[in-house]
């Protein structure tokens, strides 16, 4: 079932480490929050590359599971609320049972609960932090053990331009998304010796339900500040994620890759 656990185990010791990506195609990929938007775009991209892709969903599974290529493996939908460690464990167990250990983890699941800080309740703060930051801790913690044992793996965390650029009404979301950068960089130092890379993607204005909830006026304001002058498609973000998970990104870890059309360049 594509399980090659420990294939490099004997060779990896000391300082001359190959940062080895799981061999594409046929990798086991898990995308959290993969039923729509950026997550689904990432899942489709990996599916088109020939990987075995599972997606977690919280409310509704993706409606179309077949991939864009004729020979691609159907998406495996797994219900998982990342606020619940038991559901996270069960989701990984389901993927491991179907495909084998997860080799590429895209921690993408996130929510917003926007309001100005003066009106932001403890609940609105806690809910967003619990999903967008602590949820990533739970997912990565569960997924990391098999990668450490296999001496390889790729972790990509979905941050946001809001982490660097700020956004009124998104103090909770911005804090969580900035937190992911710190999480990724410390983790990159912990697991670099195992050939595991941990990187962050920071999308800007992407054509998703989440952005639509900002309202057309706010979106137009933001687009006026985007050098490329348009919103991103989920596929634009998926390209960056696929790159960070590829052999070409073998020497990249702890990096933040903005996919924001230049909105927050230099931040």
């Amino acid at each position: 079932m594509g399980e090659q656990r420990g294939a490099l185990g004997g060779a990896v010791n000391g300082s001359s480490l190959p940062t080895s990506a799981p061999t594409s195609p046929g990798r086991v990929v898990l995308v959290t929050g993969g039923s729509r938007g950026i997550g689904l775009g990432c899942a489709r991209r990996f599916q088109a590359l020939g990987d075995k892709v599972a997606v977690t969903y919280c409310t509704a599974p993706p409606t179309e599971l077949a991939g864009p290529e004729r020979d691609s493996v159907d998406l495996l939908p797994v219900r998982c609320d990342v606020r619940d460690p038991e559901q996270v464990d069960a989701a990984f167990a389901a993927v491991e049972e179907a495909f084998g250990p997860v080799e590429v983890l895209v921690a993408n699941a996130g929510v917003t609960k926007d309001t100005l800080l003066l009106r932001m309740s403890e609940e609105a703060w806690a809910e967003v932090l619990d999903t967008d930051l602590t949820g990533v801790y739970r997912v990565v913690r569960r997924g990391l053990g098999p990668m450490v044992r296999a001496h390889r793996g790729r972790i990509v965390l979905m941050s946001s331009v809001v982490a660097f650029f700020g956004s009124p009404g998104q103090v909770n979301y911005g804090a969580a998304k900035a937190g992911l950068v710190g999480l990724a960089r410390s983790l990159a130092r912990e697991v670099g010796s195992r050939g595991i890379t941990v990187n962050v993607v920071a999308p800007g204005v992407v054509d998703t339900d989440m952005i639509a909830s900002l309202g057309e006026q706010r979106v137009e304001q933001l687009l006026a500040l985007v050098p490329l002058g348009r919103r991103a498609s989920p596929a634009d973000v998926a390209g960056a994620v696929a790159f960070l998970a590829s052999d070409d990104a073998a020497y990249i870890t702890g990096a933040v890759l903005p996919v924001d059309g230049g909105l927050a360049m230099g931040m």
Partner: protein
């Protein structure tokens, strides 16, 4: 080290996780100096031992554990 079977099981975990030859896993071997294990190796070893022996090891119990013999004593005291 009264129970040879338990030590053999312990040794098998160490060989598997740390990728070291069997003859190096002796009670006086130091994880860092003799077995070339880093902190992540030790976390992995503890997790493997917890699973193999069906025990739980608290973080605080690991303080001061530097040799194979000390680690084995910690585990065997829980059996």
């Amino acid at each position: 080290m009264a129970d040879d079977a338990s030590f053999d099981k312990f040794k098998a975990c160490a060989i598997d996780v740390l990728q070291v030859p069997a003859d190096k896993v002796v009670p006086e071997a130091r994880f860092g100096d003799d077995l070339d294990a880093d902190s992540l190796d030790l976390v992995e070893l503890v997790m493997a031992l917890e699973e193999a022996f069906d025990v739980t090891v608290d973080e605080s119990e690991l303080e001061g554990i530097e040799t194979v013999g000390q680690a084995y004593e910690l585990i065997s005291a829980k059996l």
